[in-house]
Structures are given as structure tokens and as C-alpha cells.
Symmetry: C2
Subunit: 457 residues, 2 copies
């Protein structure tokens, strides 16, 4: 009785697409570019190549735009194309290392929005190492969350990689500034990528390409013991229920070697020789809570992360903004709810930055620039808590701070991935980061003052 039914996740995001960045034609165009470029950069990362990403936007009569993004990445295997593009919550990035993509939602939302706003299918031309190239046109069946392949045919592509075309109701006039800014900042957080932008064949830009050095690929890591909620414990236990607790802990978690396992099990008074499968729910609950509370585990390893790093960040910011870089600061690797993260920041001065009492803030997460929703972002909120007058004399202006949060999981406040919530102890780490950058600014401005005085003498 009473109309009970379920809806698909595609239906959920169709009805609530403002949560995924598709609130209006201006934002939808921006989000479409963003989602495609992020997929391209993830793919090039996996392919271990210097990324070449070409973005083309053609606006047509009225408000229709076609966004085309090409890359030299891995390409998409034929059997995966329909689901990758035509199914929400489907992808190959559900892993434990830092990546731009994380939900399996992004490009499918662009496909969906293009389809409901213009009736046009997404067109994907892709070539992997295993084929010559194929072109697909794909719709999504929203109610069933499944792909509809309108057509697919062989079409040679010169190089391995992918080109995606989305035609949507978008407002290029209003969107272009932010699209340009996004790509410009992407060239800074992924400085080894060459990115081009062509708008209506009349405007052309190039970004990035600041270095030929490819960063090392982050590596999947075992969970940190502080990530041990009951669901994780249950899943790990189910894999190998006959493992004795000691071996189970050492094999399932990082920062948990044999000595530490023994010490920990003694401390919580659990028998190291009991099998994980023999524990009932209450005992599993006790084990999980104890793992989360125990404070003698080491900080997580950073091999699953890919911070930009001082040299790369300085180099790109200097060149892109003709800036003087004042300082770099890094906090971590730490963990929030057991997920490894690093926060890094650069403070720089340039005429290119807004003149203001508070530094202008450029936010990044997993090498992606965040341009929307700054009011509810923890980096923006925390910036206001710093008494900048203490670090910055009024004569110094044009100050900017670039912050980068990188983690195997980013606590985004919504599926559009534009702002980070203030979870766990992240806020206090951000405060420390800002203070450290503030102190470097203070040293710099005092140095400038003294230099000025000595010149006058």
C-alpha cells in the first residue's frame, strides 16, 4: 500500500542535479568541462605520460554549447564504455590512493544533463593499447540507471586516448571566465600537463607545461587502523575468517606490525590466537572501537598521496602569475577518520592578485582547483580566523595563498566536489598551516622594511 518504490541513483541525481554542480546553464557548462578534464588527467596519470588535454567549446545558436575534451591517456576499454559513461556510480577509481575521480558519477552527470537539455547523446571516441579506436554515442536510461548505446562503430584514432563530446544547454558568455580560471589553475596543480582551450575558434589559450617531470604514481595502501569502523572490520574479517587476530591485524592495516599488534591486543585484552571469524558482533565492535581509540599507531604512510610539492608549486606560481613566492608549508601525512591526507600551502605576492587585507585564496583538492561554494569550505572559513594584520603590514598587498588538500578520500560537502567540510582535526592543521605561512610573510615584510631603511640611510 501507499506507493512504496525505489528510485535509481541516476533518478536521484537527475532530480537533485544542483547537488552535483548542474544548478543552471552557467554552472552546468563549467561542471561539464571540469568533469571531463579531471577524467582525462586521471587517465594520463594512469598511463604514465606527460598529459596533453585539449578543450574545445563551441557555442551554437541560443544557448547550446558543445564541449569536447581530448586526452592522450589510457583510453577506455570497449566493454567498459557503456557503463563508464551511461551508468551512475560506476567507474574504476574505487581505490585507496589519491585520484581526482572518486564517485563514478562525474561524466555520467554530464551525459545526463546534455541529454535532458538538448536531446543529444554523448559521443566518445576512444582508443586503448588493445584496439584501433571506436566511436560510441551513448544515452543514459535514467530510471534504470543503465546505458543506451545509440551507435558504436570502429573509427581509427591516431593515438591512444579519449575524446568526449557533450552537447548541452550552457551559457558560454557567463561561464568562460571561470572555465579559463579553472584550466589556468589546473596547469599549476598539475604542472606537467599541457592544456589547451579553444573557444568558438576565436580564442585560444594554453596552460601548464611548466615541467617535463612526471610525478611518481601514488600507490594503493592498506587502511590505517583509525579507519576501522564496524563495516570495514566486518568486510576485512569476511575475507579470511580463519586468520588469527594477530595475523589479521598485521595483514589488514598499515602502521600495524607484529610488535605493535601484540602490544595492542594485550592492551585491549584480546586473545591474539582467536580467529577473526570467531568474534561475535559485540567483540568486533569492541575491536573496531579500540583500534580507532589506540593512539600508539604511527602516522600513515604518504605513498598513496601525491602532493604538488614545494619546488613544483613555486615554479608554476612564479611563472603563471609573475609572482614572488614567500613561503611553503606542509602538514602531514596525517589521517582524518583513518584516511591519510596532506595539506600543503604556498604564500605568494603578485600584482596579478587582488589587493585586499586578507590574502586571496586559491583552493585545490587532489590537484583539482575548487572555484565554487567557497563560503562553506573549511579552508575559506579558517582563513578568516587568522588575524592577518599581525603578519601583513598594510603596504604589502597582492598576497595570495594556494592551499592543496590531498587525501585518498576528500570530505566534500556535496557531490559537485567544490567545498570541503571541516571534519576531524583538519581545521587545526589548516590554522597551523596559515600561521606558518603568515610568519614567513612577516619575516619577508620585515626584511623588506629593513632593506628600505638601509637604502634611505
Amino acid at each position: 500500500s501507499g506507493n512504496f518504490r525505489g528510485i535509481s541513483p541516476a533518478e536521484f541525481f537527475y532530480r537533485n542535479r544542483q547537488m552535483a554542480g548542474f544548478e543552471n546553464p552557467t554552472q552546468s557548462l563549467y561542471t561539464t568541462v571540469r568533469e571531463l578534464v579531471e577524467n582525462s588527467l586521471d587517465s594520463c596519470e594512469e598511463a604514465r605520460v606527460l598529459p596533453t588535454v585539449d578543450v574545445t567549446i563551441q557555442s551554437e545558436l541560443g544557448r547550446t554549447c558543445t564541449v569536447s575534451v581530448s586526452d592522450n591517456g589510457t583510453g577506455v576499454p570497449d566493454e567498459n564504455v557503456p557503463n563508464a559513461f551511461g551508468k551512475v556510480l560506476y567507474g574504476n577509481k574505487y581505490s585507496s590512493r589519491q585520484r581526482r575521480g572518486t564517485f563514478g558519477l562525474g561524466v555520467t552527470m554530464a551525459v545526463l544533463y546534455g541529454q535532458i537539455s538538448t536531446g543529444t547523446p554523448a559521443v566518445i571516441h576512444t582508443k586503448t593499447a588493445q584496439n584501433e579506436g571506436n566511436e560510441y554515442s551513448v544515452y543514459i536510461d535514467i530510471e534504470s540507471n543503465s546505458p543506451i548505446v545509440k551507435s558504436s562503430n570502429p573509427l581509427k584514432r591516431k593515438e591512444r586516448g579519449t575524446t568526449v563530446h557533450i552537447t548541452l544547454n550552457g551559457d558560454l558568455k557567463r561561464s568562460r571566465e571561470r572555465v579559463i580560471e579553472y584550466l589556468r589553475l589546473t596547469g599549476i596543480s598539475t604542472p606537467h600537463a599541457r592544456i589547451t582551450l579553444s573557444l568558438d575558434d576565436t580564442e585560444r589559450y594554453t596552460f601548464g607545461g611548466f615541467t617535463k617531470k612526471i610525478p611518481s604514481l601514488p600507490v594503493d595502501s592498506l587502511p590505517h587502523p583509525h579507519a576501522a569502523d564496524l563495516e570495514l572490520i566486518r568486510r576485512l574479517a569476511a575475507k579470511n575468517p580463519d586468520l588469527r587476530l594477530h595475523e589479521f591485524l598485521v595483514g589488514s592495516f598499515q602502521q600495524l606490525g607484529h610488535k605493535t599488534a601484540e602490544k595492542f591486543l594485550n592492551f585491549i585484552r584480546m586473545d591474539p590466537r582467536a580467529t577473526i571469524g570467531s568474534l561475535d558482533r559485540e567483540a568486533l565492535s569492541y575491536l573496531g572501537n579500540s583500534l580507532r581509540k589506540y593512539d600508539k599507531f604511527g602516522k600513515p604512510s604518504a605513498t598513496c598521496l601525491s602532493p604538488v610539492g614545494k619546488e613544483s608549486f613555486f615554479n608554476a606560481i612564479r611563472k603563471e602569475f609573475n609572482a614572488t613566492v614567500i613561503g611553503y608549508s606542509q602538514r602531514g601525512p596525517l589521517e582524518w577518520d583513518g584516511f591519510p591526507y596532506i595539506v600543503e600551502g604556498v604564500l605568494a605576492i603578485s600584482d596579478a592578485f587582488e589587493q585586499s587585507d586578507i590574502p586571496h585564496l586559491f583552493r585545490f583538492a587532489n590537484r583539482v582547483p575548487l572555484l565554487y561554494d567557497s563560503t562553506d569550505d573549511v579552508f575559506a572559513k579558517t582563513l578568516k580566523r587568522i588575524p592577518w594584520a599581525r603578519y601583513k603590514p598594510p603596504e604589502i598587498s597582492g598576497v595570495a595563498i594556494f592551499t592543496h588538500f590531498c587525501s585518498i578520500r576528500v570530505p566534500y560537502s556535496a557531490a559537485g566536489k567544490q567545498s570541503i567540510t571541516s571534519v576531524s582535526s583538519i581545521t587545526s592543521e589548516i590554522l597551523s598551516l596559515y600561521r606558518e605561512l603568515g610568519r614567513k610573510l612577516k619575516v619577508f615584510s620585515e626584511g623588506k622594511k629593513r632593506a628600505l631603511h638601509s637604502r634611505r640611510k
Copy 2:
């Protein structure tokens, strides 16, 4: 190749539970109370009774709390209990009228969080008009997004209705103020409901019960023509492909009678006698775009909405805050993206309200108080754009504005339903609302001044 797979929507919200209001134990306790109370009020509405909702929170050793919420609503039919509580994106509120629930997500997230933080199943004791009462304990299988019924047995319940118990890792000390505030404000936006709160058997509160008059039940409505995106058109067309365009339009949309249909089809040069099923994608696209652009359709009907209304709002605010109510304003019924909505506001003065230059803002959406995420809410952002000094002399303080946005679809910025994004023309309507309330405040304060002067003479 490459680890392609899909994840269930339960898995998505498990990994990203901060998007649904489960960021930390303090917020999780608040969200759990909220989701249960909203379900209870929706149920009582459907049952057409004066709601009685009893909330009990027991904190146990450490940080474990048990939240219990009882109502005298419809109860949950036996065959629907497992999916209603153990499956994400499942419910009976996917309708076209104003309701508190909308996603089919809320209570299942509370079940999920309780389960992963304490290992405890949700316990549901429910009686409908068709049975004597049954008690269930339910888990959710996150990876498959399906319920696990741990136990179910007949258990008499005196009255029709439901009691839900969730045991979770929550922080009652930090949460209690906001829980109390939430229930207090709920008593204002649902003034005919009696709500009780009991905290650890030591504190007891009652809220609401300001009137015995039950508001009329909002009624499902046909979509407004401005909601005609391609997906909607396609679904409507598929229902009855042999309908001629004229009949299709009149039967599918509100504010589209025979005369208007004829005029519209002439205007866009489409043959009224063609069947909807005969239109190809391009023609459907043209039809949908034309429907959205045509500005001669009437404003939507308000029968699907349930604003609180001037008298009820005034009455409750006066009594709850011992306030002087200065003014009421209502905008609408209007539509955003074709969804009917009304915005109403009350301006009041009381010592109970914070003293400040800007009125204190109490936000509501579909009769639910919104207490989190105000920084990115359109009502809060827009409030700051009003030059309040123009309307409020410094000697008048303790001013508050209560805003209520009600719609068949609320553009929430995230699944936790705490803030509304600024879509469509809503912002300008909110500005008009605030200005109208501001003018009433100005009239009031000038009246006060004159009264003061005349007394002094």
C-alpha cells in the same frame, strides 16, 4: 581490465556520509533525531491526525546514545518495513506535493550510521490500521543496498503509529542545544503538533501544540509546463503515445487548458493533431524548449503546497518567544524550473532574540527548521544584502525573521537538507520578501518614535 565496477547508493552514502549530515558524532545525533521526527510528522499528516511525537534520548557509557521517536501516524505496512528502513533511495514520498521527506534516504542513513558506529540494529515497532503491531530489528547490507531483517515478531502496540530506536555513537552533551532548538522550531512550523523531548530521564520539554486545527493536506498536482525538460516530456509521451498533441498537453500539465494549448501550438507552429508518439527526438526537444520558454502560462496552483500562513505563524511565534509580531509577507505561488513554490516570512521582536544590527534568521523548508550550513544558504546570504539600517533604527534590537520555503521540490545543496541553493529567480523573490518585511519594521519603529514623542509632550 582496470577494476571497473559499480557501487550501490548505500555504499556511496556510507563513504560520503558527511554529505547526508553524518560528519561527526555531534551532527550524527542531531541528524538522526531530525530524520526520525520528520518521518513521524509526514506520517501523521498522511493519517490526518493531530500529531503526537515523543522523542527520547538516552546516553549510555562513553558516547553511545539511543534515540527513540514515537508517533501516532499511519504506521508502516509489514511488507514495506524492510525496504523502508534498510534500503537507500526507497520510500513512498516520490510525489508531486509538499512533504518533508523526499529522497527515500533519511532514516536508512540513521540505520546505517547506528550500525557502523555501534553494531546495533535499528528497532522498529509499528502498527497500521491493518494489524495489531509488529517489532522488527533491521540492518542494511551496504554493498548490496538491501535490508537484513535480524528479527521480526508480533508485538501489540496500543495505537496506530510507529516507534523507531536507533543506537549510535553520538555526543549528547554537544548536540542537546541544537536538538532542543530544532524541536522548539518544529513546534512553530508545525504548530498543531505536540512534541515532547526527554533527555536521560532528567530533562523534559514539550513543544508545539499551539492549535488544534489540522491544515488541509496538500494535493499532488500535474507538472507545470515550465518543468518540461526532455526526460519529463519523454516519460509523459511514453504513457500514451497515441494522444494528439492538444490532448497530450492539456492532460499532462497544469495551467494548460484547451484554449492555451491551441494558442501555444499555433505559436510554435506544431500541428495539434499530430500524436505525441510520432514526434522524433528533435521535435520533442523543440516542444520541451518551447514549453519552458512560453511565458503566457499561468502561475502554478498552490493546492500542492502547505505554507504555515500568517495567523498560525504569528500565533506560534508570539507564544513561543513572547514576541511582538511586526509583519508577514508571502511571495508566490511561483515556480522554479517549473516546480511550484511559496516563500513566506515573519518579522518579530523579542528579548528572546539575539541583539544585533542584522535580524536573526530562522530558516524553514517544507515546515522543517534548518539549523546547519547557513553560510551557503540563499536565505542567509540574501539577508546580508539588505541595508537593514534603512529599516531598523539602532534602538530597536532583538529583531528576528522567520523564513519558510515550501515547494514540491526544494533545491537543497546537499543530501543533509540544511541549506537551499540560489536557483532560478528565487533570490529576487527573497529580496522582495525581506524588503517588504523591512518596510513593515520601518513603519512600526516610526510609530514607536511618534508614540514616544507624544508621551513626552
